[in-house]
């Protein structure tokens, strides 16, 4: 009797592992040829919008991030990514462009695995719902100022928007605080590795 009962536990383990191998381990093996990059590696090169933030909000930038450098860029990317997760932005914005439904015309080149092979995607932020548009090609689409205004009160720049406002990303002078600056830096980093011809090189692997 006991052995019969145990057989269901064994069957559960076996079927789980079979599925895990086919749907989890196999993709890991296939993609293991790609080099995994750290946040510091993908923070280089520094995006022009990050440097721009330093002149847009000099006092705040100085206070939270100091000088424009790869290290401060990496710090901003980390904090920005954490804010993106804390607010569950990934539940309303996806981060991959599919090869169908004219998505390449709307957002930009179709996503490739090497774009995600870095610690900024630990955990990944693919998303499964688009209440708002996809964000993986967001770099440079809007200005830093637009992002600041939009995060503060989305309906001021897009009256139809159903996005919440995030006043806690701003200080008492309505200038972006550490999280606000970091989130803008993060959004301006998303897709900064795609050049003007639409060629994708994995982030951190070349010049701008």
């Amino acid at each position: 009797m006991e052995r019969f009962g145990a057989s269901f536990l064994v069957a559960a383990a076996v079927t789980f592992l079979l599925g895990f191998f086919l749907q989890g381990v196999m993709p890991v093996i296939t993609l293991s040829t790609l080099a995994t990059k750290t946040v510091e590696e993908v923070a280089d090169p520094i995006t022009p919008h990050f440097s721009q933030l330093a002149s847009d909000y000099p006092e705040e930038f100085q206070r939270y991030f100091g000088e424009v450098s790869v290290a401060s860029h990496a710090k901003a990317l980390r904090i920005g990514r954490d804010a993106y997760i804390a607010e569950a932005c990934f539940h309303c914005h996806s981060q991959f462009v599919r090869p169908v439904s004219n998505e390449d015309l709307r957002f930009g080149p179709v996503s490739k695995p090497e774009e995600y092979q870095n610690h900024m995607n630990l955990p990944h932020l693919f998303g499964t719902r688009r209440v708002g548009p996809d964000l993986i090609r967001e770099a440079g689409v809007h200005s830093n100022d637009w992002h600041a205004a939009h995060l503060y009160a989305p309906r001021n720049v897009a009256p139809y928007s159903v996005m919440p406002s995030y006043p806690w990303f701003f200080d008492e002078n309505k200038k972006p605080n550490e999280k606000g600056l970091a989130l803008i830096a993060y959004l301006q980093w998303l897709g900064s590795w795609v050049d003007e011809n639409g060629t994708i090189t994995a982030p951190g692997s070349g010049g701008m």
Binding site: A12, V28, P164
Partner: protein, 468 residues
């Protein structure tokens, strides 16, 4: 009484408290969902409050539905069914209470953590990282507590329900560990997405589904007072589910950068499992055959079979929507939201209501205060959910085609507004119905005591006299 054991076979107190916790977190989840729905009408009730930001509240909505509402009720179901099927009590009542306490503590920590901004970016696993080890320990203890009677039983064979329960025990810890730890700490990017997809799927397929079906195999024959129609179909259904369900994870990220062989594999397995599911549905409707008038008189059975019809619809829908043709349009839209509500609430939530209706009078030792109120609860909940499903499915198609047509993004948002209003309306009706249900639970427990605790399952004093 179990042989030589002075304890009662079934710990009704423990079941009662798990049911109370389940009903409480159900309301937390639904209030969160309703508030979130108002955000889409540009009428969020708590704008600009950091701890009640809609994104954070959404995590509370889904996590409390899965781990607060469904898991608590399922633990109650296991506590009810396993000792009856094995004629042995659970391993330890003290351990049972410890698990109860630990589980509710995890739920509270999850809500606080998510509202404070410590949610984890794993869909359906947004429980904060610091809560995850606690959940895992709780799951292992639960498995020990519930497996021991199954291994100790002297019954001549294991009934179908116990196959499902044992398999779920084997799967759940593995699934939870895989989903909450691998993509968070070790597997970045695209491969991490494959594993997250597997977690989203396995949580529903290998935890909720087998326990749900195990409870159906337990309750339906008892309430109908006849055996399951076909043992062969039970076997096919179980082993088919066990084989095909765990290999479909990537279907949550179709047309993504995940290698196409994994995507095609997931699609084929998903379509295959639809055939398996049909055998289970056929088996249960074969069991009902000749006794279908029972649906009219017994509200628990009515919830069970309504859930099964929705299960059949969900799985049929799956077999189509998993194809790349459908994915082009429906992925990322409200279609998927409709699908998720149909399975998590329409199937498992409905089964839980049936379970409540059968079991609550036993654990409080009093008959339902008003069967008519319960009937009203059924019709309000069922029709409002049907409205939500039709509404969001249609809204999803509108969104998908507007996106493909390269309309301005704002056009798709504006076109969605009426659908989002109807969704809010259906949410309001569902919440009101649950308010009535909570009132019925409370009023039933408050009545003067009567002698009915020992009524056998299936005798249904609970719902006698329920009208259509």
């Amino acid at each position: 009484m179990a042989n030589g054991d002075s304890r009662a076979l079934v710990n009704l107190d423990l079941i009662r408290w798990h049911l109370i916790a389940s009903a409480t977190f159900m309301m937390v989840s639904m209030l969160g969902g309703l508030a979130y729905a108002f955000q889409f009408n540009q009428l969020y009730p708590f704008p600009s409050i950091e701890w009640l930001s809609p994104g954070r509240v959404r995590m509370v909505h889904t996590n409390m539905a899965a781990y607060g509402f469904i898991a608590n009720a399922f633990i109650a179901g296991l506590l009810f069914a396993i000792p009856r099927l094995t004629k042995k009590p659970i391993f330890s009542d003290q351990l049972g209470w410890m698990i109860f306490g630990a589980w509710q503590l995890t739920m509270v920590l999850t809500v606080i953590g998510q509202l404070a901004g410590y949610g984890q970016a794993i869909e359906w696993g947004e429980t904060p990282s610091f809560v995850d080890p606690l959940v895992l320990v709780g799951l292992v203890l639960l498995v020990i507590n519930m497996s021991v009677p199954i291994f100790r039983t002297e019954e001549p064979g294991l009934y179908v329900s116990l196959w499902y329960f044992l398999a779920a025990f084997g799967w759940t810890g593995l699934v939870y560990f895989m989903g909450n730890f691998l993509p968070e700490y070790w597997v970045p990017g695209t491969a991490g997405a494959a594993i997250t997809g597997l977690f989203i799927h396995d949580l529903v397929g290998l935890f909720v589904t087998p326990i749900g079906w195990g409870l159906m195999y337990f309750f339906v024959p008892l309430l109908l007072r006849k055996p399951i129609w076909s043992h062969a179909l039970s076997l096919i259904g179980f082993w088919g589910l066990a084989f095909f369900y765990p290999m479909q994870g990537v279907h949550h990220f179709l047309l993504s950068p995940i290698p196409m062989y994994a995507q095609y594999g997931a699609i084929v397995a998903t379509i295959a499992v639809e055939i398996v599911v049909l055998t289970v549905i056929v088996n249960f409707f074969g069991t009902l055959h000749g006794r279908s008038e029972a649906i009219r008189g017994n509200l628990a059975l009515r919830w069970f079979y309504t859930g099964m019809i929705l299960y059949a619809l969900t799985c049929l829908q799956c077999a189509f929507q998993v194809t790349l043709t459908f994915q082009k349009i429906i992925h990322f839209t409200d279609w998927v939201v409709a699908h998720a509500h149909m399975v998590m609430f329409g199937v498992f939530g409905f089964w839980i209501y049936g379970f409540f209706i059968e079991v609550w009078p036993r654990v409080v030792g009093r008959p339902w205060v008003s069967p008519r109120l319960l009937t009203l609860h059924y019709w309000m909940t069922m029709s409002a959910l049907a409205l939500m499903i039709v509404d969001l499915t249609a809204g999803g198609l509108v969104q998908g085609f507007l996106w493909r047509g390269l309309n301005h993004w704002g056009d798709s948002v504006i076109a969605s507004m009426p659908f989002w209003w109807v969704r809010t309306l259906s949410g309001l009706i569902i919440i009101s119905a649950q308010g009535l249900f909570i009132y019925a639970l409370w009023a039933t427990a408050r009545q003067p005591s009567t002698e009915m605790t020992e009524a056998p399952v299936g005798a249904s004093p609970a719902t006698a006299g329920v009208g259509v």
